[in-house]
């Protein structure tokens, strides 16, 4: 038996869950027991986006071959990560059509169409990042701020709960989290003056169980960090998936920027809990701890990245940590039990960071506030990263981050900055199709880097000409998959960063890869342009 054959046999043993079984929360919680499936946004509740499948490895990846393509009938950015449950792949055709496919062939079983209310809109594209599943029910948040439950077998609507009022600029773009018997989502719209919140719903009925406002009301701790009435419209949206730690029963969400984005004069104070990670008790929604990455943000440094939970060696002891490559250009290691700041340092070029105080509060260099006088900021309002998922490999012990280097001039002109400089085209929001790209080499570029999670020093980097909005996946085959706006799907050696394989997909990659297996055959998917692509090793003739 050759090496591939051995791995297929191993996979067959691992694939122990019965076909067609309901997806219990125990299966979601222990998804590592069935690596042929992908049961939540990041594969596991720790958000490591690490696949235990190893059929595709550094020695076989050169034989990767396209298996199927599914073309979405949408010109919105394709940001969703698919779920795979026992051979059925579920994804979202933006903005809010749920599609069930045969994961081996890409052929469609059914499509559910949600007609968004005309007032439903989002700041930055009518996008959706994916689904959650519990039992036989899929869950999706919508642009008009509904939460839908859809039967996974028939594609029929089971219930439809209005989470928030779309007329008040609320929307939902994140994949929900299924935690225990609840489905939990956050509200987007932070740039448009909402007061953000996270809400938990009974997965069976859609009835709201608890709600946590990311901006405290008067009389609650933290409200005094907002001047005047600014707390009412202060943003702090939630639009990316949470991580969950079953040992503490805490779930962790990143929160978005305060609003208005660049004019901090109307919202004096730290603006809690904008740009934070909040740790909530899943049963009650009670806030257990928080950490603020950017107090009184004036540069749209959303902290809506996906939290990654990993245990790391820290000063001679194993710490239950949380790794966080933040949009503000700083990488953090927090204790996920207590919220204690352990360590942080810049991971891109920067010019505003003035270190941390004794309590781990980030310091801004004097004069690096946004004024009417234009200033150069590194990183710029696009930040070092946006929402793209990062990855941690327990095999290599490295933290993989797909991000970019950039800088730009910012001045306060009401809600939005006026671009300055002749390269204004180069870091726009992602578009579906490839378009000519002109920037110079040194001002802005995308890069995938592997970081030591203790020192936060980069071990290697793979640099791209254009920037990247794509997330990364690491695998037990010691590969890191990623891509960027150039439309190349890449496989890198997880230990060295060496390019092992690439394919041009003809459209921008604005999503993150995932992996699954059917009958012992490992697949890797990635969305590019308007299409979803599935790759596997070429079958021997």
């Amino acid at each position: 038996m050759n090496g591939i054959g051995k791995r297929i046999a191993l996979l067959a043993l691992v694939a122990g869950a019965p076909l067609e079984a309901q997806v219990t929360f125990d299966r979601v919680l222990h998804a590592e027991r069935e690596p042929h499936n992908w049961l939540s946004y990041s594969g596991t509740v720790s958000n490591q986006r690490f696949s235990l499948l190893d059929q595709i490895d550094t020695s076989t990846v050169s034989k990767l071959d396209l298996q199927w393509v599914w073309q979405a009938r949408s010109l919105e950015k394709f940001e969703a990560t698919a779920l795979v449950v026992d051979g059925v792949l579920y994804t979202v055709q933006a903005p809010n059509d749920v599609v069930a496919l045969d994961a081996a062939t890409g052929r469609v079983f059914w499509t559910y169409h949600h007609e968004n209310a005309p007032e439903g809109r989002a700041c930055c594209g009518r996008v959706n990042r994916g689904l959650a599943i519990l039992g036989d029910t899929l869950f999706m948040g919508t642009i008009d701020a509904h939460l839908l439950a859809i039967d996974a077998k028939s594609g029929k609507l089971l219930w439809d709960t209005v989470v928030a009022d779309a007329k008040q600029n609320f929307s939902i773009t994140m994949s929900p989290n299924v935690l225990k018997d609840k489905v939990i989502v956050g509200t987007a719209g932070g740039d448009m003056g909402i007061r953000g919140y996270i809400a938990a719903f009974d997965a069976k009925t859609g009835k709201e169980v608890w709600r946590f406002y990311t901006i405290p009301a008067p009389g609650e701790p933290g409200n005094d960090t907002w001047s005047g009435e600014s707390w009412r419209t202060g943003g702090a949206a939630v639009w990316n998936a949470a991580a969950y730690d079953p040992e503490t029963n805490l779930a962790f969400w990143g929160t978005g920027n305060p609003a208005p984005d660049w004019d901090g004069s109307t919202r004096l104070g730290d603006n809690l809990y904008s740009n934070c990670v909040v740790a909530l008790d899943v049963d009650t929604g009670e806030l257990k701890w928080y950490y603020q990455f950017t107090p009184h943000d004036e540069l749209d440094y959303d902290s809506t990245q996906v939290p990654v939970l990993a245990d790391v060696e820290w000063r001679g002891a194993t710490r239950k940590a949380m790794l966080w490559a933040n949009r503000n250009g700083i990488m953090y290691v927090l204790d996920r039990v207590t919220g204690e700041f352990l360590y942080g340092k810049p991971y891109v070029k920067h010019n505003w960071f003035g270190g941390f105080d004794a309590k781990g509060r980030v310091q801004r260099l004097p004069g690096m506030d946004v004024t009417k006088e234009p200033k150069l900021f590194q990183p710029h309002v696009h930040g070092a990263i946006n929402w793209a998922p990062t990855s941690f490999s327990p095999r290599t012990g490295l933290y993989y981050v797909s991000h970019w280097e950039n800088s730009g001039i910012v001045a306060m002109e009401g809600l939005f900055p006026q671009p300055v400089g002749i390269n204004r085209r180069q870091t726009g929001m992602g578009q579906v199709n490839l378009e000519p790209f002109f920037n110079n080499y040194d001002e802005a570029y995308g890069v995938i880097r592997a970081y030591d999670p203790v020192t936060l020093d980069p071990r290697w980097e793979y640099r791209m000409a254009d920037i990247t909005w794509a997330g990364v996946l690491s695998t037990a085959g010691d590969l890191v998959f990623g891509g960027g706006r150039e439309g190349y799907f890449l496989a890198l050696d997880a230990r060295t960063g060496e390019l092992k394989w690439r394919e041009s997909l003809g459209g921008q990659i604005n999503s993150a890869p995932m992996s699954y297996a059917i009958d012992g055959r490992q697949y890797i998917t990635i969305a590019a342009g308007s299409s979803l692509f599935a790759f596997a090793l070429a079958e021997e003739q």
Partner: protein, 245 residues
Amino acid sequence: MAAVFAVVAPAGAQHATAFDLEDGKRVYDLSCANCHGPDGNLIVGIDFGRGVYRREFSNDQLADVIVAGLPNTPMPPNPGMSHEQALRIVEYLRSMSAGRLTAADGDASRGRALFEGKGECLDCHRVKGVGSRVGPDLTAIGQLRRAGDIERSLLEPEAEVQPENRFYKVTPKNGEPVTGRLLNRDTFTVQLLDLDERLRSFRIADLRDQGFDDTPMPSARRKLSSQEIADIVSYLSSLRGGVAP
């Protein structure tokens, strides 16, 4: 949203970089144009585009006026602005009038003859289907750029080059260097329109060297008088689109 700052070659105004001018223009448009107008000529007796002020100012004096205002006139103070920032506005104001002659001083028909003849502009540029594709097509340049901007591009062509008009040079491992207008670039490939108007694509793995090249556009000062430049500016300003007859 997109805003990334690039340092570029020094621009026309003395000691000012392209960024200084861009920044000065930006703040001018934001803070000054409401009263003075985008071309700086809405207040009687003042025409920044022609270098007309109510009296002579040094750059520092003008910057002081911008910061402190002029008492008993509508010119307000700008207390939040630094002297350095005000100087960048001044540099922009100076650049507006750097050519002195403007479209209004030129003759468009003479300009067309110069453009197609002595100026040899069609060797690189194209107007209504006539001329080369290597440089920017100027068929609608009068709609896209103001006369002062066109004049500046003629006098200081390297000062600001739009990203889609930059030149790039590649040197294959087994071949002669190729220069052309950069059409696209990614991690693995480069696409150019070479000087013979051929669409060329190169794999970076096959290249010995690559990088941005200086613009091949010479300054009009080399072969044209101020009047001839004004004539060409007038002609280019008259180009508002259309197709070949």
